[in-house]
């Protein structure tokens, strides 16, 4: 990378970090607001259903040091989070943060793996369609991608399990937690395959990559490159390939995290999505709250990386 590109990146990084911090603050406010508006009070559980307005409850609040006002409660909650204390799970009693870190890695494998797989399927189709226009082959591929994107991922999971594991015996049928078996890592591939093909992002990805690439290929500077006999691909790479690919990847992270909730459920995958499901079943506020915050942080991080790539390619963007 050229030295001249470093400075804009630094500037954008500083700005985007500030924006990310602000947005994460906003995320915490939204999460707090939802929990604050929720009926019922954790103290009710503690007091065994006695009225929260009773003397006992007020005394209990004083004793536990629960602030009376909503902003006091928010400040106390936020302060604890900054210390890394996300509270304890109501169901298991374990602290939330270490649990999140433990299962978060599994979700990271699942989402990033399937993102790469979707990209690996979408790219050849999009590039071929952009370069050659509508041929019978890529029109068929686009239609198939539409159908795949509409397949309910939970049902597709059963199909894959049945065909590959029961019928063909290709993968060992064990949960991702049991890591000792010889081919256990192969099992990781099945959910990644399911989420990568049927998460509903495939057709959108093809469309976006194709539109951007064909737009760039029609630009004047590409025509010039073509006329002088230069490598068209090298000239179109940054604007027509790198930027759209990073954009669509960062934009699809939330969808994949949502899809992960379902796929993890189907495959009993020990990740954040399954944890979120369990927490919603048990109304385990601290856990689901931690997951929402972690997922939002993940989304913002993807966005941050995308902005950095964008500025590296197009330093003018830093002066906007």
């Amino acid at each position: 990378m050229k030295l001249s590109a470093i400075k804009p990146i630094g500037r954008v990084l500083a700005r985007e970090l500030a924006v990310t911090a602000l947005l994460l603050l906003g995320v915490s406010v939204v999460v707090f607001a939802i929990l604050y508006a929720a009926p019922g009070d954790p103290l009710d559980v503690l007091l065994g259903g006695q009225s929260p307005r009773s003397e006992l409850a007020l005394g209990m609040r004083e004793a536990l040091g629960v602030p009376r006002t909503w902003y006091g409660q928010y400040a106390a909650w936020f302060g604890k989070m900054l210390e890394g204390n996300f509270g304890n799970s109501i169901r298991t009693g374990l602290p939330v943060l270490p649990e999140l870190a433990r299962v978060g890695v599994n979700t990271l494998y699942l989402t990033l793996g399937s993102l790469l797989l979707t990209l690996a399927i979408a790219l050849p189709i999009a590039v071929h369609a952009a370069a050659h226009g509508d041929t019978a082959g890529n029109t068929a591929a686009t239609v198939v991608a539409y159908v795949l994107s509409a397949v309910p991922v939970f049902w597709f999971g059963y199909i894959v399990v049945y065909v590959f594991i029961h019928r063909l015996g290709m993968f060992p049928l064990i949960s991702g937690t049991a890591g000792r078996q010889p081919h256990a890592w192969l099992y990781f591939l099945v959910p990644i395959f399911v989420l990568g093909t049927a998460s509903g992002t495939l057709s959108e990805m093809i469309r976006h990559l194709r539109e951007e690439l064909s737009r760039v290929l029609a630009e004047d500077y590409i025509r010039t490159a073509r006329a002088k006999g230069a490598a068209v691909w090298r000239h179109a790479f940054k604007e027509g390939f790198l930027i759209p690919v990073t954009e669509i990847m960062s934009a699809k992270i939330p969808f994949l995290l949502g899809g992960a909730v379902i796929v993890e459920q189907v495959f009993n995958w020990p990740g954040m999505g399954r944890m979120a499901w369990q927490a919603a079943q048990d109304r385990d506020y601290p856990v689901i709250m931690g997951i929402a915050l972690a997922a939002a942080a993940f989304v913002r991080l993807g966005n941050l990386l995308q902005r950095v790539v964008f500025t590296a390619v197009n330093p003018r963007a830093s002066r906007e």
Partner: protein, 302 residues
């Protein structure tokens, strides 16, 4: 600090000036016509089936069990689509399953359209600080994976489909807001809004009639169909996960889930029939939206 207006990957508005004078159907490509035709067919079928379910005109009682005829294959006499694990008629249950998402889905779409339009007009027409605030708000909403936010709301409140659809509607607002703001920016470029002001039209007329009605109605219809696809996906996913409609009330999602127990024994049908219904319906709404977008918004394939 400059706010970042995210580019949208859903349906970018095409350049208005390039729409040709040809009648709609003539300038549509064959593929788009197929998309729209299929989509309209699905919408008609869904609406008709919704009415059938609402009036209770079903071929069988959807709750009537028949222990003698469990997991019957399709084309069984009397049960053209077979029966489920309790011997209940799948065809009737599929039709009734539309009740689970139809009105809630419309609610979600209405919230997205109204909220998104208001935000988009604030950002595009008002501009300045409003644009910044709306952009931050959009980015904030986009930070949450929708399903995670829904699970949070379920944990905090209760697994009620209307609560869920409010979340779906609110999280659908940024897309529409962005598209409308983009459209207004484009109209400004063409001195369109200045011209309207110069004519002495009140802001209300400019916004409601000239911006929303004349220039954004196609976009809103397209987003409504895509939003319905999203709502169906969310409803079926959640009832699959056990948070939406509960047995014995049928929803396509909980039908897939109920049939899944028999799936690995090799009996696909009770789970596959609702899955195919989901597939065909979501595909229909999506193709309708995308096909209309290609035709109405002048976005050309190259």
């Amino acid at each position: 600090m400059t706010a970042m207006r995210m580019r949208r990957y859903v349906q970018a508005p095409g350049p208005v000036g390039e729409i040709s004078e040809l009648p709609l159907l003539q300038r549509a490509e064959t593929l788009d016509r197929v998309y729209v035709g299929y989509g309209l067919l699905v919408v008609a079928l869904v609406f008709a089936s919704y009415l059938l379910g609402a009036f209770g005109w079903l071929p069988h009682d959807p709750q009537a069990m028949n222990v003698g005829l469990i997991n019957a294959a399709p084309l069984t006499p009397g049960h053209p689509l077979g029966t489920d694990f309790l011997g209940r008629d799948l065809q009737s249950r599929l039709i009734l399953g539309i009740q689970a998402y139809f009105l809630p889905g419309l609610l979600a779409v209405a919230i997205s359209l109204v909220g998104g339009s208001v935000l988009g007009i604030l950002a595009g027409y008002q501009g300045g600080w409003a644009d910044t605030v709306v952009t931050y708000f959009d980015n904030l909403l986009d930070s949450f994976p929708r399903l995670v936010l829904i699970l949070l709301v379920i944990a905090a409140f209760k697994p009620d489909i209307y609560y869920i659809m409010v979340v779906v509607g609110v999280t659908g607002m940024p897309v529409i807001a962005n598209l409308i703001a983009g459209k207004i920016a484009f109209l400004r470029q063409k001195s369109f809004i200045e011209a309207a002001h110069a004519l002495g039209l009140p802001a209300r007329t400019v916004i409601l009639k000239h911006i929303l009605w004349y220039n954004c109605r196609a976009l809103l219809v397209i987003q409504a169909t895509l939003g319905m696809a999203e709502a169906i996906l969310v409803e079926t996913s959640l009832s699959y996960l056990g948070f939406g409609v509960q047995e014995p009330t049928p929803s396509w999602g909980n039908m897939v889930q109920a049939g899944a127990n028999y799936f690995l024994q090799g009996n696909f049908w009770p789970s596959t029939a609702p899955a195919l219904a989901i597939l065909a319906t979501i595909l229909g709404f999506q193709l309708l939206g995308d096909g209309l977008n290609n035709i109405l918004e002048g976005k050309r394939r190259r």
